[in-house]
């Protein structure tokens, strides 16, 4: 019984290996905020959400499969919560049935397995009832298959058969086993056989020749004898106990898979609820093949910043179709980093089948999202700063491929502008030629100007907006790079602001986001 709510054709493995840069991604893009919101305190949901986000689907069809299921989930959240609840209950009640500390004998394993299996049967019946009651409401291919499977595999007849077998396994009438002679003529290969009803009538018993056989009776006070008998019984039930215990694990496995795959959608429901509460908009993105390059959005905002701020935030509108280089320049504290983050975040959200924080979003899938942000000074002092940045760049280079997306944030600024620009230029040129998409936030005028002067259609220049009076709108507008980043504004704000607290608050939110 497969769940197949994450992929049409395979299980979702929330323990598979993540891309090596996943920690950089998480911290650079502020993913923790998103995951925490999805989890709502459920660590398991968080782990699944984390994994799904970082794993990234590259096939628009796979993305569509999840989007359809997610639409069902958003429309019938209460049913989804019930499904999740059943899986959680199965796992928790299973865990409560201890094996016992010391006596791992087939007898105790069998007894425990019987008990757990009875719980499972009860929950499977519950699952069946939900399916009967609600399956018609669901329209996605994933849920249709799922409910059809429940319907077919968990019929009345099947439940009856299972319950009968669980009865038999109590062995109220003793056991029948066969054996062979092993090393030293000790009995081995004990195999248990179904207890046979005594089918012979009294007449047959009288007339048929009796089978040869010998009976051993353990004397009443022979403790050693009874212990030996118990051990023999254990050996006899070993295979059956194992089979049932493994069956328990298999059924448990089904519940675990169900929990895992539903967990992702639980997280999406939670996030949706919060964003709706905040009054920000979400939409299902249109995922397109990587080539030709598409990137067009309206009202794209940084979801982690939105979650951290009380007030609704402004989104950006970008027409980036056909652009493989987006250079972002402009005022300090003008929303450049926020925009860069929103690009990375929404790309990851789209590529795990989620909705995105925008009014409209249409983009090509990327084969991997990578970040190259300025880092704190290396504490171990093994690398100089530029050395460290180039070292990380070299690590990235090991992993980049065609149609990857790289987000640079003020990279290669740890040297003078001319040299830094030249390094950056060489890197960017190489990436573009290898069909890697580049978003680059920089203050390096020489760098930005250089590209601007090329006047290529495949480039887009965005600038943080600054009004004449120095206030920021936190919006990006298309425009040529300027020679100043208005650092003076910032200086003034910090040193001359009457209410420094306000500034500090904003700064905090930005860092978090």
């Amino acid at each position: 019984m497969k769940v197949l709510l994450m992929y049409a054709d395979k299980d979702f493995d929330h323990e598979s290996e993540l891309p090596p840069n996943h920690q950089d991604l998480a911290s650079d893009l502020g993913l923790d905020t998103v995951w925490n919101q999805m989890a709502q305190g459920d660590g398991f949901v968080r782990e699944v959400a984390r994994h799904a986000t970082l794993e990234m689907l590259n096939d628009p069809a796979e993305i569509g499969y999840r989007q359809d299921i997610l639409r069902d989930c958003l429309n019938h959240a209460s049913v989804v919560r019930e499904l999740y609840g059943i899986a959680v209950e199965a796992m928790e009640r299973e865990k409560r049935e201890y094996f016992g500390l010391f006596s791992h004998s087939p007898t105790t394993i069998l007894r425990r397995s019987l008990k757990v299996m009875q719980i499972f049967v009860e929950l499977l019946k519950k699952l069946k009832r939900i399916s009967v009651a609600h399956s018609r409401l669901f329209v996605s291919a994933g849920f249709n298959r799922f409910f059809a499977m429940i319907d077919e595999d968990l019929g009345e007849e099947y439940f009856a058969h299972v319950e009968h077998q669980l009865q038999e396994l109590q062995f109220r009438h003793g056991i029948r086993i066969s054996a062979q002679l092993g090393k030293g003529n000790k009995g081995v290969h004990y195999v248990l056989h179904k207890s046979r009803q005594e089918s012979r009538s009294w007449f047959q018993r009288l007339t048929q020749k009796a089978e040869p056989g010998y009976t051993i009776v353990i004397a009443e006070r022979d403790d050693a004898g009874f212990r030996a008998l118990a051990e023999l019984q254990d050996q006899g039930t070993n295979l059956v106990a194992n089979a049932l215990a493994q069956a328990v694990d298999h059924v448990l496995g089904f519940f675990v898979r169900m929990r895992t795959e539903v967990a992702f959608y639980m997280g999406c429901i939670n996030l949706r609820d919060e964003l709706v509460r905040k009054g920000t908009s979400i939409c299902f993105p249109e995922a397109l093949s990587p080539s030709p390059r598409h990137f067009t959005c309206r009202g794209l905002y940084d979801v982690s910043l939105a979650l951290n701020l009380a007030a609704p935030i402004t989104g950006n509108t970008v027409h980036g179709d056909g652009k493989n280089l987006v250079l972002i320049t402009g005022a300090n504290q003008g929303g450049k980093s926020t925009f860069l983050r929103s690009v990375g975040l929404s790309q990851l959200m789209m590529q795990c089948g989620m909705f995105v924080p925008a009014e409209e979003y249409r983009a090509s899938v990327c084969y991997g999202v990578f970040t190259h942000y300025r880092r704190e000074e290396d504490a171990s002092m093994t690398h100089g700063k530029l050395d460290e940045e180039l070292h990380r760049m070299s690590q990235l280079a090991d992993r980049l491929r065609m149609h990857s997306l790289v987000l640079f944030n003020e990279s290669f600024a740890a040297t003078n502008e001319r040299e830094g620009s030249e390094i950056a230029r060489q890197i960017i040129d190489a990436l573009l030629e290898q069909q890697v998409t580049v978003f680059f936030v920089t203050h390096a005028y020489t760098l930005a100007r250089g590209y601007y002067d090329r006047r290529l259609d495949s480039q887009l220049f965005l600038r943080a907006e600054r009004k004449q009076d120095g206030t920021r709108t936190f919006k990006l507008i298309e425009g040529e790079p300027l020679e100043t980043s208005y650092g003076e504004d910032l200086y003034r704000e910090i040193f001359e602001s009457a209410v420094p607290g306000e500034w500090a608050g904003l700064k905090k939110a930005n860092n978090k986001g």
Binding site: K2, L181, K183, Y214, I218, A224, A228, E231, N242, A243
Partner: protein, 510 residues
């Protein structure tokens, strides 16, 4: 006719009984350590006596050297190791058998032991046939083994064993357990119920899950219930178990004596090679010495004290090698030099070389020509024996007298710092007396002494001196070279290093 032996060639006059005591000089030369290190790993074979019994002719030494050389081929050594392993397993089974209570349990273990034995013997011959070797001893052994495996009695043993195992393996019975009753019945083909359970939940199955099979102790013991069931099973299958009874009577003495002896004796070679293997790995040279019973010239390149080297190699420390040379009429190596400079080690090394050579073992060194001496006689300085009423000098003299009365012209005498408990003048006098006696006998000798003059006594004495690095006299090289004894007081240098010279102590003790 005596049995074939892999240790002694045919017609060799081997000692009637195995010696239980190590020769007297064993501990002086640290040969006790070496022997223990070699034999400990094969304790059950009681190989010590082999190491206590040196060979006294050149040809038997070659007989062993040939075998040892062949066994340096790991493939061939592996053949005998795996045979030994099987034989050990067989003996373990036989040992188990004695502790058992139920006759048909014992008989099953006996059957197992015989099967192991038969398989091991056949495999040994097969493996041996596919190996290359040149030693006389091994060729003779192969010949013997070939004859044995082809013999009617061995063939019968094998086929009986095989048939018996098959018959027992076919026995199947069924048990019904209810309350305190166990019914033992014949078996009828029936499905395994666990499969049915598996099938019921098949639809949930996805990939492997962990096993919940409980491992029951597979010890040889049988409890009373098992024993009683076995008795009933024997009653259910009277033909099979009757055959078992007959088999055990017919094959009670299945083990071939020559093979039993061989199994032990081959361990001498394997154990020795296993012992020197890590030293070889560490880059230390070993060789098969050329032995002569007539020429007393001795020449070994880059030898070392095997006991010390074994210890140093374990500690991953480096080992210093030294040459030994006695040419033409030279007979006595007079060793002088700094304290802690390796003099005693050198004298031990010469003794070990001569002894190991007589065992047929490889010896430390790149190449070695050695004299097959008839005896090795040693006197190393000992702790004063307080129980003895005699003084130390007296003890020394008595011991030397014993040595001189035993020594022949073919003996090797090793003296280490004797006559220390008397004046230099006395010691010189006594030493000259002894030196003359040794020279008269024309025996070989290594003499560690502080009396430099002994070294230049005549053309039969050779001076060997511990060397130093000129710039750092306190640094010990443990290298001993042939050169005149120069009497330098190296002890001062060591004192300087430890800041206990006059000047230092004046300064330090205020």
């Amino acid at each position: 006719m005596s049995l074939f032996s892999i240790l002694y060639p045919e017609n060799y006059d081997r000692p009637a009984s195995d010696p239980l005591q190590a020769p007297e000089f064993f501990s002086d030369l640290n040969l006790d350590q070496i022997t223990q290190a070699i034999t400990d790993r094969k304790a059950s074979y009681h190989l010590n006596s082999v190491f206590y019994t040196p060979l006294n002719e050149v040809d038997p030494v070659r007989y062993r050297q040939e075998i040892m050389r062949d066994l340096e081929n790991p493939e061939l050594a592996g053949v005998f190791r795996s045979f030994a392993q099987s034989m050990r397993a067989m003996r373990e089974r036989l040992a188990q058998l004695d502790k058992m209570y139920y006759p048909y349990q014992q008989k099953a273990w006996f059957l197992d032991a015989v099967e192991l034995y038969g398989d091991a013997v056949v495999k040994l011959l097969q493996d041996l046939t596919s190996c290359q070797f040149t030693a006389r001893g091994l060729a003779l052994f192969q010949q013997y083994l070939d004859g044995y495996v082809g013999s009617d009695s061995f063939r019968a043993l094998r086929s009986d064993t095989h048939r018996m195992k098959q018959e027992l393996a076919r026995v199947r019975y069924s048990l019904r357990i209810k309350g305190n009753r166990v019914d033992v019945r014949p078996y009828h083909e029936e499905p395994d119920y666990s499969q049915e359970v598996r099938q019921t939940f098949e639809k949930f199955s996805q990939g492997a899950v962990k096993s919940y099979l409980v491992r029951f102790p597979q010890g040889p013991d049988m409890n009373q219930l098992e024993g009683r069931i076995l008795e009933r099973v024997a009653q259910l299958f009277p033909d099979v178990f009757g055959n078992v009874d007959r088999y055990c009577v017919n094959h009670a003495d299945y083990m071939d004596e020559t093979l039993a002896v061989f199994d032990r004796e081959i361990q001498f070679y394997l154990a020795t090679l296993e012992f020197i293997e890590p030293l070889k790995q560490a880059g230390l040279p070993f060789c098969y010495p050329h032995l002569s019973s007539s020429r007393k010239a001795v020449s070994v390149q880059e030898a070392f004290d095997l006991a010390l080297a074994s210890k140093l190699t374990q500690e991953q420390a480096s080992v210093v090698c030294n040459d030994v040379l006695l040419k033409d009429s030279e007979r006595i190596l007079v060793v002088t030099g700094p304290n802690q400079g390796g003099k005693t080690t050198f004298s031990r090394m010469v003794g070990q070389l001569h002894y190991l050579a007589r065992l047929g073992c490889p010896v430390p060194g790149h190449s070695a020509r050695l004299f097959l001496c008839d005896k090795i006689l040693t006197h190393f300085e000992k702790e004063e024996n307080t129980a003895s009423l005699r003084g130390k000098l007296q003890d020394d003299l008595i011991r030397i007298k014993d040595i001189m009365s035993e020594a022949t012209g073919d003996s090797l005498i090793i003296l280490n710092e004797i006559f220390t408990s008397t004046s230099l003048k006395d010691a010189s006098f006594l030493s000259y007396k002894i030196l003359q006696q040794i020279l008269e006998r024309d025996a070989l000798c290594v003499w560690v002494t502080f009396i430099d003059e002994l070294a230049s006594f005549n053309d039969k004495t050779v001076s060997v001196v511990g060397s130093v690095v000129p710039e750092q006299p306190a640094l010990r090289t443990y290298k001993l070279v042939r050169k005149p004894a120069d009497g330098l007081a190296y002890a001062l240098a060591i004192a300087e290093k430890h800041r206990v010279t006059y000047r230092w102590l004046k300064e330090r003790i205020i």
